[in-house]
């Protein structure tokens, strides 16, 4: 029935997809929160130079890519933390330098075919070896465990770095850890998604989850679910449609993002959550008690008075106890 599972390469690809689908959004949410959505893309560029070094020296490309990506991640975080003007340009130089070195060196290596280069850049369902899988599983386990353990601190630093520093939280250490975990995720995603599309799987499931969820914890769980759905679904689709797996995965993720937008617009907002969204314009007959303070009318619901003002509602201090 499931002929897809008859092929060893497909079993490998599906397991790799499962790992990356869970890992990428988990790390990605903190990158989105810190407005560093594109940093994974940059690390992917540099990892290509690592792949090239592996191909030229006969070492495992996954190992050399991992070392190069981790070094780049540490360098990026240090450049960022120093906050000098020109840091932005320094990052750009690193990223383009990385991909240029990668393309040139891969071309000079014995296995340097353009098919091989395309597989590294955009992913391929036939590329994951069983040796890769062992390494990917171990790396993913470390990243997931570390992210879960450090989650409140990563959240605190990304939310308000100054407050975190004042509270004695080791901000630089946590940022370096996040950066290194991003590099590891890039390498785990390299086979199936490809180095140029890796970042999409860190960002798009989070973008979709932000539309649907109401809390950080909820958005995180939703993003992991959507990430797994996109990566596994994308690998299956690419098998039947005979398309590049990386591109297919990203297209599935984008489709999920659009679906989330539709669901968020169609879904009725229950009144219990009215503090977040109003289901109606307050007006005579909406059912909420009103207090005329003089020149305008305020409406009472759940404590603070809400006065319609252009596109938002002002919260007024109540001159009496909350009315229930």
């Amino acid at each position: 029935m499931l002929e897809i599972l008859d092929y060893a390469f497909m079993r490998h690809a599906l397991v790799a997809a499962l790992l990356i689908g869970a890992c990428a959004p988990l790390v990605g949410i903190f990158l989105v929160q810190r407005r560093l959505s594109l940093v994974g893309d940059g690390i992917g560029h540099v990892a290509l130079a690592g792949v090239a070094i592996g191909l030229l020296t006969g070492q495992a490309p996954v190992l050399t890519a991992l070392l190069t990506a981790v070094l780049a991640a540490v360098a990026i975080e240090i450049i960022r933390a120093r906050g000098r003007t020109g840091g932005d340009v320094a990052l750009a130089l690193t990223f383009y330098g990385g991909i240029a070195v990668g393309v040139v060196l891969i071309g000079r290596s014995p296995q340097g075919t353009s098919a091989n280069l395309t597989a590294y850049l955009f992913g391929s369902i036939s590329a994951t070896t069983s040796g890769d899988l062992v390494a990917f599983t171990a790396l993913t386990a470390v990243v997931v465990a570390l992210t879960m353990a450090l989650r409140p601190w990563l959240f605190a630093v990304a939310q308000d770095e100054e407050y975190a520093r004042a509270g004695g939280i080791p901000v630089l250490g946590l940022n370096l850890t996040l950066s290194v975990m991003t590099a590891v995720t890039v390498v785990v995603a390299m086979r199936v998604v490809g180095l140029l599309l890796v970042s999409a799987l860190m960002i798009i499931p989070n973008a979709a989850a932000q539309v649907l969820a109401r809390s950080f914890g909820g958005a995180l769980r939703m993003a992991v679910f959507l990430g797994i759905l996109a990566s596994v679904g994308g690998v299956v689709a690419s098998f039947y449609a005979e398309t590049a797996s990386g591109g297919t995965i990203v297209l599935v993720a984008l489709a999920l993002f659009l679906l989330a937008q539709v669901v968020a617009r169609v879904r009725p907002v229950t009144h219990g959550l009215h503090a977040e969204r109003h289901t109606h314009e307050h007006g005579p007959g909406c059912g909420h008690p009103s207090i005329p303070p003089g020149d305008h009318v305020d409406y009472l619901h759940d404590g603070p008075r809400h006065a319609p003002y252009d596109d938002h509602y002002d919260e007024h201090a109540l001159s009496e106890g909350p009315v229930r």
Partner: protein
């Protein structure tokens, strides 16, 4: 006799080795509510950032709770309410998720199962009740008004059970109604004996809460005394914009459940 909460002797703070506030001598005892006044660029923000380890301690002596200010053990004992106009980032977060950040000083990352203990939840609820946001724990912070977001910042600091609460411009940029609510929150905290250092450039809104005024000008302390002495010295008319006869003033009192959403404790 216990050590003062804060003890600065000719302390100098600045950035990258360049002094901004010079030779500040200041002792604060438990229970005091000190307003640090001064125009923009006077160095008052650098002073409080120095206390929090966010600006460099360049010279002189600085102690908190009888230990060096730079001692790691002091980190977290000073609660911080930064001057921020919004809490919203590019990801969603609920009010209680933000306030939970204040509890991190009591948590250890190598014991993730010990998280979100009953104690943590209780302290988060208590902090939210104190600022009158007890019913907003599950709301997205991005959907709160500016004044409510300020109160979330205060609750986050309160959740860390600080021995000194440092606030940077808590009333700046909020409308007058919300200024009154914030002043009532501060009055409520003062009532519970919280030691506070409040940076502001307009004392009128907080005139009833403050027990002492420290004015900073051109990087040095220019005045240190009671609010009354400060007014007499002609620096500022304390009650210029503070009309006690205005309707509504008395209703934002301490004994009335006047804060929006405040839960009444039995």
């Amino acid at each position: 006799m216990t050590a003062p909460v804060l003890d600065l002797r000719r302390a100098t703070f600045g950035y990258d080795g360049v002094p901004v506030v010079h030779e500040v001598t200041l002792t604060i005892q438990a229970g005091e509510v000190v307003a640090v006044l001064g125009p923009n660029g006077s160095g008052k923000s650098t002073l409080v950032k120095g206390l929090l380890g966010l600006a460099d301690h360049i010279g002189g002596q600085a102690q908190a709770f009888g230990q060096s200010l730079d001692a790691a053990a002091n980190r977290g004992r000073i609660g911080y309410v930064p001057q921020r106009h919004t809490l919203a980032t590019s990801v969603r977060a609920t009010v209680s998720e933000i306030v939970a950040i204040g509890r991190l000083r009591f948590r250890t990352w190598w014991r993730p199962w010990a998280r979100d203990s009953a104690r943590d939840r209780q302290e988060i609820a208590r902090a939210l009740d104190l600022v009158g946001l007890g019913d907003r724990a599950g709301s997205d912070v991005g959907h709160l008004s500016g004044g409510q977001q300020r109160r979330v910042l205060i609750a986050r600091a309160l959740a860390s059970a600080p021995e000194l609460l440092v606030m940077d411009e808590p009333t700046a940029g909020v409308d007058q109604a919300n200024q009154q609510v914030l002043a009532a929150v501060l009055a409520r905290l003062a009532d519970t004996g919280t030691t506070m250092l409040v940076v502001t450039h307009e004392i009128a809104a907080l005139a009833d809460v403050v027990t002492r005024v420290v004015a900073v000008s051109d990087g040095v302390v220019a005045f240190d005394g009671t609010p009354e002495a400060y007014a007499v010295a002609g620096h500022h008319d304390l009650h210029a914009h503070h009309d006690h006869s205005a309707p509504g003033r008395t209703t934002i009192g301490l004994d009335e459940p006047a804060l929006p959403g405040a839960r009444r404790h039995a």
